[in-house]
């Protein structure tokens, strides 16, 4: 007789409650709490009780949500100023803009004046990395040189949006979505054939891990469930990256089309986009696109007379980096605490409302219409000899030509930085670049010839990530970089797994102290984080620190 585990309860009870109450039209607790914050600038126990009543969730669960998300924690005054502490802003000023703004307003981060007139909070990141540093004053996001002075003078103005270009003759990702892929698929492809095309195209996830999208789809398609969902992960939290932001805001139709195609292939009839509250324009842009698609008969019931029905709901997060991790993202989408869950079960079997769910990054889904329209071979041909398809990369404000570029995989990082980015401004030189967000390794100038692709970057301790490229110039203090990254890491730890919850705090404490850092103890801590953590947050934070240990040993003041 094989050994059989004891029957244990599921860990699914809050999700089950959400499912039941959603079916009866209740909003999520997070939605109600966000509304209360917008209206009144703070969350009180009365707000929590109302949220519990309206969402029909337990009071304790609502309380837990209300203490998790940044947006629900910092009190807001009549004028709420949010200063970006992302990596691009750090690279621009070394953090000086934060201190100057706080001093000017007479407020610490997270404080509100007693008369409730002004409040100051930290935000990571506003996605204006091309024009750092960035400050959001009320609904206006201002960025670039002079921003602090303008905000202090109460003269904030909207910052310029970045350029986007493609090196491809025929852009894949920055062409406006025209629903041609869906139209063709519904007319000419069975769901199975579409799934086969996506698998054959080997579309790798653009959110970080590079997992093949087709495999996720196949798992979800095979999973049993009365309903299935497609979730677009628009929680592009990586400081220094603003690619998904502009896909959602400038090209929302392409994303919606990709989601509908995923729904067609998987057998899902509903999709969700989770976008970030740090990108206040994303949700309205997406909602307007959904509305247009409805009007054009491209979303809704029986699309183009095909019998296929698909609809999309846009949900906005509330300030949490880890919510970019797919299980945490699903928790946030359902209005719960955005903590990571161990896998299995995978979202493909057990996602939104406990039902099979595909979670793909925004850019990943934006690749699908091309595959549906032109087929796997054409997609493979976009980056010959490298990872299939094309990739958007973006540069921070240190570059001569910051902005978003669609490039082929396999191009050297140097070519990207110098030919597209144009090198650095003010005659500065690149000391190092961090690629793919705070969990990516840091590439010293000496290794810029590394090809930009999944495996090649991994070989030097780096990653593609979201494709954000943040350059640190020759004046940057690399111990400050370590401190900056670890502060971010500790602040954003969801608090679930022990290594990350305590370890990142300790790592930050080591660098925040004046004292030298004991290298042996640091390395032991990094190993604990890397091998022990539940998700890529704790597991990935050691990567840039290790890069610094390798390449900038002397600057770290080690003992």
């Amino acid at each position: 007789m094989p050994y059989q585990s004891p029957r244990r309860p599921g860990s699914n009870n809050l999700v089950e409650l959400v499912r039941r109450h959603h079916a009866e039209g209740a909003p999520t607790a997070l939605q109600v709490l966000k509304d209360a914050m917008e209206r009144r600038g703070e969350i009180t126990d009365d707000d929590r009780r109302v949220a519990a009543e309206r969402s029909r969730m337990p009071e304790a669960a609502v309380h837990g949500v209300s203490t998790f998300y940044d947006d629900l924690l910092a009190p807001r005054g009549e004028r709420h100023v949010r200063v970006c502490t992302g990596t691009a802003c750090f690279a621009a000023t070394g953090g000086a803009h934060v201190d100057r703004l706080g001093d000017g307003l007479g407020l610490q981060l997270g404080e509100r004046r007693a008369d409730r007139s002004v409040s100051l909070a930290e935000t990571v990141c506003l996605g204006f990395c091309h024009s750092a540093p960035a400050v959001r004053d009320g609904d206006t996001i201002d960025a670039g040189p002079g921003v602090v002075d303008r905000v202090l003078a109460d003269q904030a103005r909207p910052a310029l949006e970045p350029q986007w270009r493609s090196v491809l003759g025929e852009p894949v990702l920055i062409r406006p979505g025209d629903w041609s892929g869906l139209t063709r698929a519904l007319r000419e492809l069975t769901p199975e054939a579409l799934l086969d095309d996506v698998k054959a195209a080997n579309v790798r996830g653009r959110g970080g891990a590079g997992f093949p999208a087709g495999s996720k789809w196949e798992l979800a398609r095979k999973a049993a469930g009365e309903q299935k969902f497609i979730v677009a992960n628009g929680d592009e939290g990586d400081p220094g990256s603003y690619i998904d932001k502009y896909l959602m805001e400038r090209n929302p139709a392409l994303l919606l089309e990709g989601m509908a195609l995923a729904g067609y292939a998987v057998g899902a009839d509903h999709g969700f986009v989770l976008c970030r509250s740090e990108y206040p324009l994303s949700k309205p842009a997406l909602e307007a696109a959904v509305e247009r698609a409805h009007a054009d008969g491209l979303l809704g019931v029986d699309i183009l007379g095909s019998g296929f029905s698909f609809d999309i709901t846009i949900v906005e997060g509330a300030g949490s980096y880890v919510v970019g991790e797919e299980t945490a993202l699903l928790a946030c989408l359902q209005g719960l605490r955005g903590t990571v869950s161990a896998r299995p079960p995978y979202p493909a079997q057990h996602g939104v409302h406990g039902l099979p769910t595909v979670v793909n990054n925004v850019e990943t889904l934006c690749n699908i219409p091309f595959v549906a329209l032109r087929g796997a071979e054409a997609y493979q041909a976009l980056s010959p000899g490298a990872t299939a398809g094309s990739k958007l990369v973006c540069f921070n404000e240190r570059f001569q030509r910051p902005g978003i570029h669609e490039v082929r995989f396999g191009t050297t990082t140097r070519a990207l930085c110098e030919d597209l980015g144009g090198g650095l401004i003010d005659g500065r030189s690149i000391k190092a670049v961090q690629i793919g967000g705070p969990l990516g390794g840091i590439l010293p100038a000496s290794q810029l010839d590394t090809p930009f692709d999944f495996d090649e970057l991994a070989a030097v301790g780096c990653m593609v990530g979201h494709g954000g490229i943040v350059a640190f110039d020759d004046e940057t203090n690399m111990r400050d970089v370590a401190r900056h990254l670890l502060r971010f890491g500790a602040h954003e730890s969801c608090g679930k797994c022990f290594p990350c919850r305590i370890g990142l705090r300790r790592a930050h404490e080591m660098f925040a102290a004046e004292a030298r850092v004991d290298r042996e103890r640091l390395e032991a801590l990094l190993e604990t984080l890397e091998l022990g953590s539940l998700c890529a947050h704790g597991g990935g934070m050691p990567a840039p620190i290790r890069s610094l240990l390798t390449h900038f040993t002397d600057e770290l003041e080690l003992a």
Partner: protein, 694 residues
């Protein structure tokens, strides 16, 4: 590592019938903590606030610590010798003057199997009467009666683990999350995991919030609801024809009968919308495996035993019995409701429900006990009180039950107790009943004794002492066997385990029961000679002559009491989480800090009409009595109904309960009482709490 505790003893909880296994931790002779046993089969490492925390009563200053003998207007402490001699001589005198049937005994569903067995042996062999009953009379006797009729044996067909395997369940008249919290939690978890749960209760109980469907029948109309469910099951083709043919008998009459109860007719009787009734029937019938769970909301009615038979019909029609997930689970109120009756503490049966008139059985006991035994049925509890008032019954020996508090028609009970020439009470505290005693014997709580309890899933589990009884208090087993010796009948038991050996010898279903085999996991009877037990009954045949399950064609009849112009509301009584029955134990613990009063639940519409404000005092009148109590408004109860618990003797809720009782078993109709509610000017009439002594 320093030990926090002197002793750690694994035992079985003495509160409700779930039968949680507990680890009792003691220091300096006191219980300091109780934790759930991880391997407890019924509780699987969980317990409720009663089992876990409500142990302070064991060290209450109010514990009886010496025998008390009535003297003048009060009681004086006495030695055991004097008390036992006094009882023996009084029982002897009465038996000589009026015959053995002038004496009656009550065993307790709180006590162990061995205590109850010894008690019935004392009454039968030492006194010579079958006047022995136990308090399951007032709770689950209808269940026992009905399940014996339908299936053959008096007990759940499966166990609590069936809840884990069921695709659907109907919970009828059981507020499990308060009355049986650990079972309730298990049902709730199953519902959250996807088991389709239907709740049937006049109140919207907590489980209803987690279920697929809630049905709120008018109190007393359960029979119509069950007939209506059967109607839909038959109408929509869910009857399992093969099962019917191979395993059952008597469906024809049921088929004709249920045709008279289509959903619209049942809606008229019960108030349950026809479409809800249809949906509930489909949930049950369409499930691969579905269980039926019920509590006192089914049994404590005039036709409670008939409703249980109608519940059994549903399982027989659909073949949903005798396999994992398809079980019939009565939630037993007290820890040993099952066992006290299994042990023959009933006026008409020996162990295993074998009739006292059965010559072969009676002879076996006569041979073992060495005395001639009566073949005449004895008196049931209500009959005992009638006989006391009528003068035929002269003496009672009441053990572990507060009849003056918990039994219906309190005035009549008190009259009966006052009419007795001699009353012996054996308890751990003075109670309403002990006020009328001539001798009070100080006994032991479940944490102070050895023996076995049998839980609601027929599981016999060990009870082990974690502490000593206080002062001169003794274990019930010790007291009963000592008194028996004094009465001239030495049972020959040194320990409760000796009693279990005799039970096993004389009871086929206990043939293989030994303490060693019971161990940590318990044994679910019937237990074969080789120790094999029976988690699931009736997988292949029913325990009836011919082996077939029996349908019962019983029409709906109106309850014993009904609302009318003078008494327009129907009162339903029930339990609250924090307390247990009359509160004798829980009110002597800090549970009182968590809940310190009873109140009357009334729907806001009724309250508005009657001018009753939330929190205001009201007077509740029934045909037999009246009480004053605080009213609280809630939409969990339907208009036309009111609800209260019965944990606070000061309120004396049972003053309202009349003589109406189950037609087959005399179980009182606690659940349907026509009342009138009116506001009163001030709170003076609402009883305040007597301070609970620590």
């Amino acid at each position: 590592m320093p030990d926090r505790f002197d002793t750690d003893v694994t035992t079985t909880c003495g509160y409700c019938g779930v039968g949680c296994r507990l680890e009792a931790h003691a220091r300096d002779g006191r219980i300091v903590s109780i934790s759930p046993a991880l391997d407890g089969p019924a509780n699987r490492g969980h317990t409720c606030l009663k089992g876990r925390f409500a142990h302070q009563f064991t060290r209450s200053r109010e514990r009886l610590t010496a025998p008390l003998i009535r003297e003048g207007g009060g009681f004086r402490p006495a030695t055991w010798e004097e008390a036992i001699t006094r009882i023996a001589s009084e029982f002897g005198r009465i038996k000589a003057q009026h015959g053995p049937d002038a004496i009656a005994g009550l065993a307790s569903s709180r006590a162990t199997n061995e205590d109850c067995y010894a008690m019935q042996r004392l009454m039968r062999a030492a006194i010579g009467t079958n006047n022995i009953d136990n308090c399951s009379r007032v709770c689950h006797s209808p269940t026992s009666f009905a399940m014996r009729r339908a299936f053959g044996l008096s007990g759940a067909t499966g166990g609590f683990s069936d809840i884990d395997f069921a695709d659907a369940a109907i919970v009828i008249g059981a507020n499990a999350t308060e009355g049986h919290p650990v079972a309730g939690a298990r049902i709730k978890q199953a519902a959250l995991r996807g088991m389709k749960l239907v709740t049937v209760d006049p109140r919207r109980i907590e489980l209803a919030d987690y279920g697929a469907l809630h049905l709120s029948p008018r109190p007393g109309t359960n029979a119509a609801v069950m007939l209506g469910l059967a109607n839909v099951i038959a109408r929509d083709g869910f009857v399992d024809g093969d099962y019917l043919a191979e395993r059952t008998e008597g469906f024809e009459a049921v088929e004709e009968l249920i045709a008279l109860y289509p959903p619209d007719v049942v809606e008229g009787i019960s108030g349950i919308p026809a479409r809800d009734l249809e949906a509930a029937a489909h949930i049950y019938a369409e499930a691969d495996d579905a269980s039926l769970v019920w509590g006192l909301g089914v049994t404590e009615h005039r036709y409670g035993s008939e409703v249980v038979q109608l519940i059994c019909n549903l399982a027989l029609m659909t073949g949903k019995v005798g396999r994992p997930g398809s079980a019939l689970l009565p939630l037993r109120g007290q820890n040993n409701v099952q066992g006290s009756s299994d042990m023959g503490a009933l006026p008409d049966t020996y162990t295993q429900y074998r009739s006292v008139a059965d010559e072969e059985v009676a002879r076996a006991f006569e041979v073992r006990w060495g005395v001639p035994l009566s073949r005449e049925n004895g008196l049931k509890i209500p009959e005992m009180f009638d006989a006391a008032v009528g003068g035929e019954l002269k003496a009672m020996y009441i053990f572990g039950e507060d009849v003056a508090q918990t039994d219906p028609d309190t005035k009549h009970v008190v009259h009966a107790l006052k009419s007795l020439e001699f009353l012996v009470c054996q308890d751990i505290f003075e109670t309403e009943t002990t006020k009328y005693a001539d001798v009070i014997l100080p006994a032991s709580s479940f944490l102070e004794k050895t023996g076995t309890f049998t839980n609601a899933e027929r599981r016999i589990q060990l009870v082990r002492p974690a502490i000593e009884p206080p002062g001169a208090a003794r274990t019930d087993f010790d007291i009963i066997t000592t008194l028996s010796r004094a009465l001239g009948h030495d049972m020959g038991f040194e320990t409760p385990e000796d009693a279990m050996r005799e039970i096993a010898d004389l009871t086929p279903h206990f043939a293989g029961v030994t303490y060693e085999r019971i161990g940590r996991r318990g044994l679910q009877w019937p237990v074969a000679q080789d120790g094999t037990d029976s988690p699931i009954l009736y997988g292949e045949r029913f325990h009836l002559p011919g082996g077939r399950g029996r349908f019962a064609a019983l029409p709906y009849k109106e309850p014993g009491d009904a609302a009318d112009e003078e008494f327009p509301l129907i009162l339903v009584t029930g339990r609250r989480l924090q307390h247990y029955n009359a509160g004798t134990m829980t009110r002597r613990t800090a549970n009182l800090q968590l809940l310190d009063s009873d109140w009357l639940e009334i729907h806001p519409d009724d309250a508005r009409r009657l001018g009753v404000a939330d929190g205001a005092p009201v007077k509740v009148r029934s045909r037999v009595g009246h009480i004053q109590i605080e009213a609280r408004l809630t939409e969990r109860i339907e208009p036309g109904h009111v609800f209260t618990a019965f944990h606070f003797p000061e309120i004396r809720t049972n003053l309202l309960v009349g003589a109406s009782a189950d037609v087959n078993t005399s179980c009182p109709e606690y659940k349907v009482i026509a009342v009138a509610v009116q506001p009163v000017a001030d709170r003076a009439g609402v009883p305040t709490l007597t301070a609970a002594a620590g």
